[in-house]
Symmetry: C2
Subunit: 308 residues, 2 copies
């Protein structure tokens, strides 16, 4: 059996000793003024200018981290809010990061009935077909998906996962403060809902386990809920965790231990704003050096995680 | 107090005697060949051609129904799968339907942590700001959202809802066969999860009730689950229901009664493929008459719903 995408992810993490994914969340007000001015001069205050700004910013972040971390996680919402021009920058960012050899975890959190899920699957993971023309559109390696609609909303993605060697991260316990509103509801089996979802996702992924023992169907488990991670880790030994919420959302490195297996595999920690906007938190750093600052913040995070 | 968007929706439904929303799900293989050939000749087998095909098809559907139903429901997935060119057609479709005086319920089913939800809210309901340039992007009237992440994933939309007179439909019980996997899980209070979600969404919407007694925060309740609709209707008397699953997903018109209040208000029934691709089910209809066929299918559905 050839290595699947989760095997590749685990291998790259091991080679780089960096279970880290850098989140690409382009936010206009946090991007250096000089970079923005350049494109405003060319295109005015338009979504076309924003598209160019976002791609240039993302490209420079990618250039600054591609040799030290295996993955980026573009957040589609920040691009989508600027319409088709925003989506254009999103597409180019993914393509560029792939050229640099990076693995792409696209944070899209889609979830819909089967026929609609199929469209998302084809667009984000597979190939569209326009008569005799067959080509990928977004071509992410992984996408995040929402399980609320049940198995038939997840199943349509599995065809593209197998055919194009892709993977999913299903939301199990999210990092936000109110994630418990629904996810922590106690069921008649006297356990929180997230436990039932964890078991469900674990079953969904059972047929998709690769050479290194992890399924193509991973889980999103928020860094902000350490105790819950302990419970979920036990239920899902073959599930790779995508762990958001480190850094700006509040979790620190020691709290990450329970997300990993005993041999410190099986999880990848996301940091978005804490890395890509680190230049804003250090007055000594000139805004032109935002990408260098992002690299330093990434190296610091790698060290923190290596040390525990 | 001025009428809010849900009041307007209720008024238009009453005026037209048509609690119906036509779903715009452009699917390349179901669109008439002659329409496709026209744009393939111009642009080749490209996503640009698909964009033009989708917009032309959607425009003709809108032209054929705008005077008999108050709303369309574009499904963003079908556009998104063709990348930025697809999103361009999506944007134009919404704009065109608004020019025709229609209300737009965008089926996007987004759901994310607060800062990300804010981006979706600004892009889909509000105005982006690029320095001194402030403008809408998608400008939908309503969007569908997924509640799995809890209240802080919904709250960011409420600012745009109030400021720009918009509304939400939160997924409560979806129409698909496996929706029960999670939504029907029995909680420690001995009730299915969808009941707890229904109560939650009802509370979330309590401060946003308009002149006609309905909240800006509506609910998605699938036409395929009549008995469940009865339960949920009781819990959510002030909540407008968006009801998918009629027609091609299998529900029939008598089964729709429980979704409405006693005075037959408070719900809007969606039909997508059963209307826009009705020409495929009737060999007597030439493909050039697909829009006329869509109108006839809509008129038939209006009659079915008027009769019960």
């Amino acid at each position: 059996m050839q290595d699947n995408i989760v095997d590749t992810l685990a291998t790259r993490i091991h080679q780089m000793d960096a279970p880290i994914v850098v989140g690409i969340d382009p936010i206009l007000e946090y991007i250096p003024l000089s970079l923005k001015e350049h494109f405003y001069k060319k295109y005015g205050h338009t979504t076309k200018a924003v598209s160019e700004i976002f791609f240039e910013f993302s490209k420079n972040i990618i250039d600054s981290v591609f040799d030290i971390v295996p993955c980026i996680k573009p957040q589609i919402a920040m691009f989508e809010m600027f319409g088709s021009n925003g989506i254009d920058a999103y597409t180019k960012t993914i393509r560029y990061a792939k050229q640099k050899g990076m693995i792409i975890i696209s944070d899209i959190k889609r979830g819909d009935i089967a026929s609609t899920a199929k469209s998302y699957s084809i667009g984000h993971l597979g190939n569209i077909q326009i008569e005799n023309n067959i080509e990928p559109v977004f071509n992410s390696d992984f996408i995040t998906v929402n399980p609320y609609l049940g198995y038939d909303s997840i199943e349509p993605f599995l065809e593209e996962c197998t055919k194009f060697n892709k993977g999913l991260f299903v939301l199990v316990k999210t990092s936000n403060p109110n994630s418990g509103d629904i996810q922590d509801i106690i069921t008649e089996r006297k356990q929180p809902l997230y436990i039932e979802i964890a078991k469900m996702v674990n079953n969904w992924g059972a047929d998709y386990i690769g050479n290194k023992g992890f399924s193509r169907i991973g889980a999103v488990v928020g860094a902000t809920y350490t105790d819950i991670a302990k419970e979920i880790r036990k239920i899902m030994p073959h599930t790779f965790f995508l762990v958001p919420g480190y850094g700006s959302q509040g979790a620190n490195s020691n709290e990450l231990i329970p997300f990993f297996n005993k041999n410190k595999t099986g999880a990848i920690i996301n940091n978005s704003r804490g890395i890509i906007y680190s230049y804003l938190n250090n007055k000594k750093i000139d805004e032109e050096n935002y990408a260098k600052s992002a690299r330093n913040a990434t190296l610091k995070m790698i060290k923190e995680i290596q040390e525990f």
